[in-house]
């Protein structure tokens, strides 16, 4: 069975009515270093970050996909489950200096990794912040699938800024980080 989407695509591209899932900001960059979302609106229930990129040694927070909330560098407890093509491993970091949302994924040229990160109840000031991530890459030189890395950000402050480590060599394609708000 085949379903052409010309009609639906045209309608969608014209601009949908306001819904429960809204874009806040997008960063597209070829610059190595830290990418930041600041002054995050406090008008949603949850946040989601979607994107593609590569991480190698030399980034601001270490040699993996890492992120920090509100600039904090010492309160992340992280569990993760990782498949590397031959085995599945799990581990736990207590009070790490950043939340690891993916393994080191150096990629190869035009072969990026991809990630989806959810930050739940990010404005609630009576709860610690819970984060979950889904990250993977199937590049020529690196294969990893990384699921449900969850972190307890042991702080009840509302999330107002997010920093994400990013490493891109000049010859590699753009890294992309998009932040969305989910109403609730």
């Amino acid at each position: 069975m085949s379903f052409g989407l010309g009609f639906w695509a045209a309608a969608g591209a014209g601009g949908a009515a306001a819904g429960a899932y809204e874009q806040i900001a997008t960063i597209v960059t070829t610059t190595a270093g830290t990418q930041s979302f600041t002054s995050i609106p406090q008008t949603y229930k949850h946040l989601q970050i979607r994107g593609t990129g590569q991480v190698d040694t030399g980034n601001a927070f270490g040699s993996v996909f890492n992120m920090r909330i509100n600039g904090s560098s010492g309160t992340y407890s992280t569990h993760f489950l990782n498949g590397n093509g031959s085995s599945v491993t799990s581990s736990y970091y207590s009070a790490s200096y950043a939340f690891e949302y993916g393994m080191r994924l150096p990629g190869s040229g035009e072969q990026p990794g991809a990630f989806i990160i959810d930050i739940l109840d990010y404005t609630n000031t009576s709860k610690h912040k819970t984060i979950r991530a889904f990250n993977g890459m199937s590049a020529t030189n690196t294969k990893n699938i990384f699921l449900s890395s969850s972190a307890l950000y042991a702080n009840t402050a509302a999330v107002t800024s997010i920093d994400l480590a990013n490493y891109l060599a000049s010859a590699q394609p753009y890294g992309r980080f998009s932040l969305y708000g989910i109403k609730g």
Binding site: M1, G4, A13, A17, T26, T52, G83, V88, A114, N144
Partner: protein
């Protein structure tokens, strides 16, 4: 795209009235950044790999890494230079719509990078052999072209199976 505008658009929602060996979405607009497919399905006979192909490409351009669990066993494996993107090996879905699949195409419309696909495949039927109950897979289509069509195949998708497609703006 300005903040405050809906970024998640329903593009299509298909329910099979009868079984089908393939389901194809074509003429996909490049007006979004990501695509998300949400499937609820059953396949017959069981034990078939459930796959997809992009833009009709039958070349050896699909690679992936999987972690999966069946019963108390966990494993991870890769497939390389395949002729289709594998969502699940040896899917066993019994006689009902017991399988849910969530597929994310990241940066599907840009043309400077290969396409990375993240998917979860969850099966609630008790396996009879070593069919995975749940898996997660990262796949790469070794092509920089924008994704304009996606075809699902693997055994027969039984009547009542649903295939929903969303576009995510950025």
């Amino acid at each position: 795209m300005p903040a405050g505008v809906s970024a998640y658009t329903a593009l299509a929602n298909v329910t099979l009235g009868s079984s089908a060996s393939t389901v194809t979405f074509s003429s996909i607009s490049s007006g979004y950044r990501d695509l998300v497919f949400v499937l609820q399905l059953g396949t017959s006979p069981g034990g078939q790999d459930v796959n997809l192909r992009i833009n009709g490409d039958t070349g050896s351009n699909y690679n992936g890494v999987t972690a999966e669990v069946y019963a108390s066993n966990v494993s991870s494996s890769v497939y390389s230079n395949g002729t289709a993107l594998r969502l699940q090996r040896q899917a066993y879905t019994g006689t009902g719509l017991t399988t849910s699949v969530l597929i994310n195409f990241l940066d599907y419309s840009v043309t400077d990078k290969h396409k990375t696909v993240l998917n979860r495949f969850d099966n609630t039927t008790e396996p009879t052999f070593n069919q995975p109950g749940t898996n997660m897979t990262a796949s790469r289509w070794a092509n920089t072209a924008a994704v304009t069509s996606v075809q699902f195949f693997g055994g027969n998708f039984i009547a009542g199976s649903t295939f929903a497609l969303y576009g995510v703006s950025a």
